[in-house]
Amino acid sequence: MNETPLWASESFWKKTAIWVTAGSFLILVVLTMDSLSKTSAGSKRVPAYNVINKKIDYQLNKELHKSMPVIGENEFLFGKEYTEEEARQLVDLGKKTTQAKNCMNCHTLLGNGAYYAPDLTKAWLDKGWISKETREDMMVKFLMDPENNARTFGSNRKMPNLNITEQEAKAIVAFLKWMSSIDTNGFPSNFKTIEAEE
């Protein structure tokens, strides 16, 4: 048999496989460290939890051609100003509740999850809450009793009652408000918020 050329030999590809894998993984580790530090709570991309004390909007940045979160002046949640620690605890309870209630197997969060119910990434800013004055109250009521406060937009798809307590409902609202402030590189695109003028 003819001699196998180097590029087709087993040992060449074995070494290539090892080097490529190790190299890719090393790059991933470096990028991971960088990404984690750039997305820690309190960074430019992922605001501190006490951002829930502020007005949040999501507007098209014409220079960058993408929508960006815009953090405004004070706009307290449930009429209260939270310290960073209080805000963290509240958002933490909210996040934990969304996991314990399995929200992600109907909804998407940051676009990830199931597709039976709307995306929650910018739920805080959605026009579906009609006006900013009624928003907090409507959200809490809806979460606690979705059956009787159903908002099905003509689809007949109703959220089931998940036994969410008032404390948990408020925490979920805080979590959603905080999540809406994350810089998601313009996702979702072309989203008109509750703040936008018709």
Binding site: Q99, A100, N102, L110, D119, G128, S155, I182, S189
Partner: protein, 505 residues
């Protein structure tokens, strides 16, 4: 205490157990499988395959329930909500594929290493522990479903993170079971002989088990949460699982077609280089929109665009080798499913993945039925198919290495099962793709992703009819599954001809 009542219950239970034993014995007499044809190690492998088939059924069943709810939203409302059905649908899938892979490895490890499985007893215990744990987790999913917003809910009910919902106690159990499996693999190869296939398999299992631990932490910060969550999901299904399948494919091509080891192992190294070279940084396509920095748009877009290349290589590999050996092989249904794997993996994972992976498109398709379309074809094409191929390899030996050819009297069963399953999944994929396109245009591009926009798209006739088609093709998949099980239980029964000896050319 009412002892007569208790006695009644005991008597009833005894009668029930007698009855079920009778049914089991009748079933065994009918199916006529002789385990003495299998080594002890292979008997462990077929245990894994059996549970895999049962979970495959659960996957289809709960998928159908969830599909019905898209059409009739009131169906099982507040009894088995969409979230529960969908969770079991995807969890059953992940777990049956793992069962299948573990079964495949136990199936070939003795032949590959040239010795018996070292920790067989431990492997059997791990099987029963895992199966008990899976049963308990599913029962809790079905009966408890959700809990309050406390750590205890995440530890004992459900972690609420798609694909890895299993509660934390089960996570720890899974890691322990995987470590036992890993020990068996390493110890067996160490006692027997190592090979290229053995080396790749071992390193891949280290990565596979290690990655799972990245998904075992609770984090308040959802960007960090999803960052690590994708380490598990992506680096499993788009890297380590693909390499595992490459290993299994390599062994089965040697086995089925008698392809030379040197060719198979060289291909395997090429595939590992391409798979990890594109797949590891291809992870970036999940980091476009979760808060992570913009460089991921470039890194993720570029590397994930390369991800189809190893899958093309696998198609070339499988098809070329089959052709070079003039399709002469010892197990026709298994080879048919291997070919289905090569194409299913390429189209489902490669083409369907590539179609929406670039960020310029993905910003409109992310979080729509596009992903579901891709998911259905990719998981089935890449992973279900190869496991089914191994079910056929296993049943052939279980019957005593009998002839399993396309010309046999009942061969229509496996051919129809192959056609119905592939056709059903492809049909669902196309239906979901249409729904995904419609969502991308109407909900995303036109309506700007508001809740109003979401429902406008959901209520649109083209979406609604796509959901009906998806359900119909789901029914076709179920029909294919039923036929598959019937075929697996009966193929080769009464066959006296031995499988032909396939020789290296």
């Amino acid at each position: 205490m009412n002892t007569s009542g208790l006695n009644g219950v005991i008597q009833q239970a005894a009668a029930l157990s007698d009855k079920s034993r009778l049914y089991l014995n009748n079933f065994k007499a009918w199916v006529q499988l002789d385990s003495s044809h299998l080594s002890d190690g292979r008997q462990l492998a077929v245990k894994y395959f059996t549970v895999a088939v049962i979970l495959f059924f659960a996957q289809i069943l709960f998928g159908l329930l969830a599909a019905m709810q898209f059409i009739f939203p009131g169906f099982l409302y507040e009894i088995l909500d969409f979230s529960v059905n969908r969770m079991i649908h995807i969890n059953a899938m992940v777990v049956w594929m793992l069962y299948g892979f573990i079964g495949c490895v136990y199936w070939f490890i003795e032949e590959e290493s040239g010795t018996e499985i070292v920790g067989l007893k431990l492997g059997n215990i791990a099987f029963w522990v895992l199966t008990g744990a899976v049963t308990l987790v599913v029962l809790v999913y079905l009966l408890v479903q959700i809990g309050p917003g406390k750590d205890s809910s995440l530890w004992f009910i459900n972690e609420g993170r798609e694909y890895i919902e299993a509660p934390r106690w089960a996570d720890i159990g899974i890691v322990v079971v995987m470590l036992i499996f890993f020990y068996n693999v390493v110890a067996t190869f160490s006692k027997g002989k190592w090979s290229g296939i053995a080396g790749v398999l071992t390193l891949d299992l280290v990565a596979l088990a290690g990655l799972y631990t990245a998904g075992m932490f609770y984090m308040t910060n959802i960007s960090h949460d999803q960052y690590w969550w994708w380490w598990v999901i992506h680096l499993w299904v788009e890297a380590t699982w693909e390499v595992l399948v490459g290993v299994i494919m390599a062994w089965s091509l040697m086995k089925l077609l008698a392809v030379r080891r040197k060719i198979v192992e060289t291909w395997l190294y090429i595939e590992v280089a391409l798979m990890f070279g594109s797949g590891i940084l291809g992870l970036g396509h999940h980091y476009f929109w979760i808060g992570t920095p913009e460089y991921w748009l470039t890194v993720g877009g570029f590397f994930s665009a390369l991800e189809p290349i190893p899958l093309v290589a696998m198609v070339v590999h499988a098809v070329y080798d089959s052709g070079a050996h003039a399709f002469k092989n010892g197990n026709h249904p298994a080879l048919a499913w291997i070919i289905a794997q090569a194409f299913g993996n390429f189209f489902g994972a490669g083409v369907w993945g590539f179609m929406h992976t670039l960020p310029q498109i993905n910003i409109f398709t992310h979080g729509t039925q596009w992903s579901a379309s891709h998911g259905h074809l990719a998981f089935f094409g890449a992973y279900a198919t190869i496991n089914i191929a191994f079910f056929y390899l296993a049943i052939q030996q279980w019957r005593g290495n009998v002839w399993m050819g396309g010309g046999s009297q009942n061969a229509w069963r496996w051919k129809w099962a192959l056609g119905l399953l592939n056709g059903g999944v492809l049909g669902m994929t196309i239906a979901l793709l249409i729904a995904g396109y419609e969502q991308s245009f109407i909900e995303r591009a036109v309506e700007g992703s508001t809740w109003g926009g979401y429902f406008t798209a959901q209520n649109h006739p083209s979406f609604q009819s796509a959901m009906v088609w998806r359900l119909l093709f789901g029914g076709m998949t179920l029909a294919g599954f039923i036929l598959l099980v019937w075929d697996l239980l009966t193929i080769g029964k009464g066959e006296t001809r031995k499988a032909p000896e396939i020789v290296e050319i």
